[in-house]
């Protein structure tokens, strides 16, 4: 097998605490191919967000090594876009200027990215809101703007940390469709952190299931569903088989007590 694009090699992460070190990630081994859509799925506290922050070099690892394209990760990779759990839009900037901030922070010319920013906003249905302020937008629109912000510099790698966790179910479905479509059209490598089984199965080509105490990978499997995925696919028996498989893993680790 050729070397994957992203590689976790015996990665370990411990946090110091008053009661001694806490093991957040234990012996993580994982390969992610370029252009893949991989979901990291697990109960809260399993270290899935930590895994993403380590990959982005926002947190240092305490053991093992992470490589992207063969090079070890020591600082945030330059072809990276991140969508956080909260939208973290800057209140004092308009939606358009919020999208452009990733170019500014990189020291790139803001004007050169304007057309691209407007194009992205149109793609995510925010065309008429580019000169509005974040507080004038709904939660779903805010998170769309933060996705546009992450995509502005056309990153090869997109990391998403439970981006739809705080949204209502319908908005979440809409954004799932838009994200899946974006991925199909651009072929970016996406690492998507979630605790929703349905979301993970619907979006991903591969699912990494994690367990907690300590955070570790318990299973990795491919989702062999058609590339084009209408929402109705979620009612199909093959979709249900993947969902119940994951649910089985979670039950075995004691997540659903009293089920």
């Amino acid at each position: 097998m050729t070397d994957p694009y992203i590689r976790f090699d015996h990665v370990e992460k411990t946090y110091p605490s008053a009661r001694g070190p806490i093991l957040a990630l234990k012996d993580i081994n994982l390969g992610i191919a370029a252009g893949d859509f991989v979901s990291v799925l697990g109960p809260s506290g399993c270290g899935k967000s930590t895994l993403m922050k380590c990959l982005a070099a926002l947190e240092p690892i305490t053991g093992g090594r992470i490589t992207i394209g063969g090079a070890p990760v020591t600082e945030p990779p330059d072809n990276l876009g991140i969508v956080f759990q909260r939208d973290v839009l800057l209140d004092w900037r308009t939606v358009l200027d919020n999208v452009l901030v990733t170019a500014e922070l990189r020291g790139l010319d803001k004007r050169a990215h304007r057309a691209r920013a407007l194009e992205l906003l149109a793609l995510f249905g925010l065309k008429d809101y580019s000169d509005r302020y974040p507080w004038e937008l709904s939660g779903g629109m805010r998170q769309r703007a933060s996705i546009c912000r992450a995509l502005l510099v056309d990153p090869a790698l997109l990391l998403m940390d439970e981006p739809f966790g705080a949204l209502d179910a319908m908005t979440r479905d809409e954004l799932n469709i838009e994200l899946r479509r974006m991925w199909q059209e651009t072929g970016k490598t996406v690492v998507f952190i979630t605790h929703s089984i349905t979301e993970a199965v619907y979006l991903s080509q591969r699912i990494v299931v994690m367990s907690r105490n300590p955070g570790r990978i318990v299973e990795v499997f491919d989702v062999d569903l058609p590339k084009h995925r209408p929402l109705a696919l979620r009612d199909a028996p093959e979709f249900g088989r993947y969902s119940s498989h994951v649910r089985g893993i979670f039950s075995a680790m004691g997540v659903f007590k009293g089920d």
């Binding site: 922050k53 982005a56 926002l58 600082e75 945030p76 330059d78 990276l80 991140i82 956080f84 759990q85 909260r86 973290v88 800057l90 209140d91 004092w92 900037r93 901030v101 990733t102 500014e104 922070l105 990189r106 020291g107 000169d131 302020y133 507080w135």
Partner: protein, 267 residues
């Protein structure tokens, strides 16, 4: 016209209350026969002012000048000190400790020393104004710079932004509401500093006018100076307030303000 009437409602109510107080005061002084060197009626205070408006204007301008100079120097030094305290552990430990102990000394007690050092001109007044005004600015700016969502800093780091770029693009704008809160306290403090300076030594400013009038038991003149100080302080405060609503139309405290300054155009 209707719009103007609605927007000025707050100002009109304030004036109405002031007029009512003045009328009650006038009636009280006249009906109880209070001697004017104890409490002069508003009419006498007004007469005192109209007899020598140039005299009062000259001294008001002097006090305004030292207050404004002290405030702006305190703002520049205070924000710079706060940035230093937030970004450097060394400055956090040293400068913070010095500022706290300096603030513990009553600034009024420093005034005579400043007169020895700088004479009786504007300089010691400005220096005292700075000393008093800088503290709220440093405290609030440090608070503002530190109160940042860690994910915002992660966003900057994920873009490999330099510390300066992060400061200017994210941290500083995020701190502006706090800085303005500090400025609103500082502008009033600067006026206090200027007056304290004028009390100690000098021959100009509204503080000097009060001291001189006190020596002659010229109570109406004291009251004119006090009213002018009130007007001056109020104008200065609202200038900062206006600058705030112009610069921070996005902030939660400014949304939907009905004085028309902070209202965003909606499409």
């Amino acid at each position: 016209m209707h719009e103007w009437w609605r927007r000025t409602e707050r100002v009109r109510s304030v004036f109405l209350v002031l007029i009512v107080i003045a009328v009650l005061w006038e009636i009280a002084v006249r009906s109880f026969g209070i001697r004017t060197f104890i409490l002069p009626p508003p009419s006498l205070v007004a007469k005192e002012f109209t007899e020598a408006p140039a005299y009062f204007a000259k001294h008001s301008v002097f006090t305004l000048g030292t207050t404004a100079a002290g405030f702006f120097i305190a703002l520049v030094l205070g924000v710079a000190a706060a940035v230093g305290i937030v970004y450097s552990k060394f400055l956090d430990r040293t400068l913070s400790a010095i500022l706290v102990s300096l603030n513990a000394v009553p600034k009024v007690a420093l005034a005579p020393l400043f007169v020895i050092w700088m004479g009786t001109g504007a300089e010691p007044k400005i220096a005292i104004a700075i000393m008093i005004a800088i503290f709220p600015i440093v405290i609030d700016t440090v608070l503002g710079l530190k109160s940042i969502d860690p994910e915002m800093l992660n966003l900057a780091r994920s873009c490999r932004a330099s510390p300066l770029k992060t400061l200017l693009t994210i941290r500083f704008p995020n701190a502006l509401p706090s800085i303005f809160a500090g400025m609103k306290v500082a502008i009033s403090f600067a006026l206090v500093g200027a007056i304290v300076g004028e009390f100690v030594a000098g021959d100009r400013g509204l503080g000097y006018v009060i001291l001189l009038a006190q020596g002659n038991f010229d109570t109406p003149r004291v009251f004119v100076a006090l009213v002018l100080l009130g007007v001056l302080g109020t104008i200065l405060f609202y200038l900062v307030d206006m600058a705030e609503s112009l610069l921070l139309p996005w902030h939660v405290s400014q949304r939907g303000r009905d004085d028309g300054v902070a209202n965003l155009p909606t499409t």
